[in-house]
Symmetry: C2
Subunit: 270 residues, 2 copies
């Protein structure tokens, strides 16, 4: 799968910009899953199978698996998505960032071990720290630009010669680093004017937008600020608001209802 082409297909064929973030927290699982050894896999698998036609991507967050020694369940989950939902790209949310020789190892982790179609990366160490990922020409490289957390402003909002640091990151990635057209940027939904600003800097490059739902970002302003002229260009992520909408055995159906409502709310404003 080529990530950018697959994303463009699934945006149109599934008519959705919604991405479901898979952040499995066993403390929040329904009771019937609590003591299964594969509870993390099974919790996510049921959500995936109940919602695949409503999303443009799934985005597992590796920290939730690593904290519980469950990398094997993450491998099984991504394999399941590829087999059962082969049109749907998987973004591994890992936010790695290191020098070239170590970045090569992280690229192997993301793309060969876990078979992700795209990975999130931290830009702080500069261009050569992302080159090992770019060598995988079909994969998506999604760089942090303007994050949705309160401390995101500490560095990202600093003025660097007449623009903000996050604007510089957007320009560097789109004009210099992304030589093969395989990059995207993370811009939080809590800052719609900054989504709009980044959109003017990067043309049609995809934006991964976390922060709607539990983090409080507004759907209408996000869509208006970030869509491309043809009404795509956004990967709008929701995690907890969908995953933990239901608490009983039918949690996956409840998740589907919330995902469907979220997709529809997004589409209403496109």
């Amino acid at each position: 799968m080529n990530f950018i082409r697959a994303l463009n297909s699934v945006w149109r064929e599934n008519n959705t910009l919604l991405c479901i973030g898979l952040d499995p927290d066993p403390a929040k699982f329904p009771a019937h899953l609590q003591h299964r050894p594969d509870a993390i896999f099974e919790f996510c698998r049921a959500i995936v199978d109940a919602t695949a036609d409503l999303v443009c991507c799934f985005k597992p967050q590796i920290a939730y698996f690593a904290a519980r020694r469950a990398e094997d369940q993450l491998e099984a989950l991504i394999e399941h998505i590829h087999i059962r939902h082969p049109a749907t790209p998987v973004i591994l949310d890992a936010k790695r960032g290191d020098i070239g020789s170590t970045a090569e190892q992280y690229a192997i982790e993301a793309f060969e071990r876990f078979q992700a179609d795209a990975v999130t990366i931290n830009p702080y160490m500069g261009r050569d720290s992302i080159e090992p990922y770019l060598a995988y020409r079909d994969k998506g490289i999604i760089l942090l630009c303007r994050t949705s957390n309160p401390g995101g402003s500490d560095l990202q909002f600093l003025d660097v010669g007449g623009e903000k640091l996050y604007e510089r990151v957007a320009r560097l990635v789109s004009k210099e680093w992304d030589v093969n057209g395989q990059c995207a940027l993370v811009v939080g939904a809590t800052f719609p004017s900054e989504i709009a600003r980044v959109r003017t800097l990067i043309g049609d490059m995809p934006l991964l937008v976390p922060g709607i739902g539990a983090q409080g970002g507004d759907i209408e302003t996000t869509v208006r600020a970030g869509c491309t002229p043809s009404g795509v260009g956004l990967i709008i992520n929701s995690s907890r608001a969908i995953l933990y909408a239901g608490k009983g055995e039918d949690y996956a159906n409840t998740a589907r209802s919330v995902a469907e409502a979220t997709r529809n709310a997004i589409n209403f404003h496109r």
Copy 2:
């Protein structure tokens, strides 16, 4: 173990500022280890046992383990260091960075699963992204400041209101973020004048300095630029130049010889 106190003890009792980075690449292992299922653990264990009296820390790089599905060997390695060399702190080089709820999971990964005494963190997402680590009061939090790779200048060297971004990071960490005295900074050995600049900004805070050896940094300039007035304050890392100095069955002894020479070269200039 309290990381900062342990570091101050081992600097003095072992009379060394040297840290050995454990970046195990099976392609470079001696032939007799090549087909062992626990080759990664065993390669590192022999290096550790041969050099523990020469170092102030060991620093395993998690990417090399994760790329090969060898987290279990990393767990076993850190446990081995704690049991056999209980005075020597372990820094998990992971360079994580994410919002609070995910950072909590990464802190569990580093401190509870892997039992590291300190972890490296990326500052791009700001203060609240490091708070979950700071909640572990005995642990060390080592933030990227000025990295040793060529692309390190792309963002870190930008001017932000009369200072460079890496200087702002150094000031933010030492004056605002490090409320419990548990932080340190990464500054590459390839930039000795910047090590000196950071030292003036942060007082006695420890500096983790990668980049001597394979990356070409100079020991004399690093030591003169970075030591505190009492001749400590530095964790000077060498990885490949020590790990892969020998290619035969006696590779651990060869590693010891190089480590000893490196420690002595550092001490000559203190």
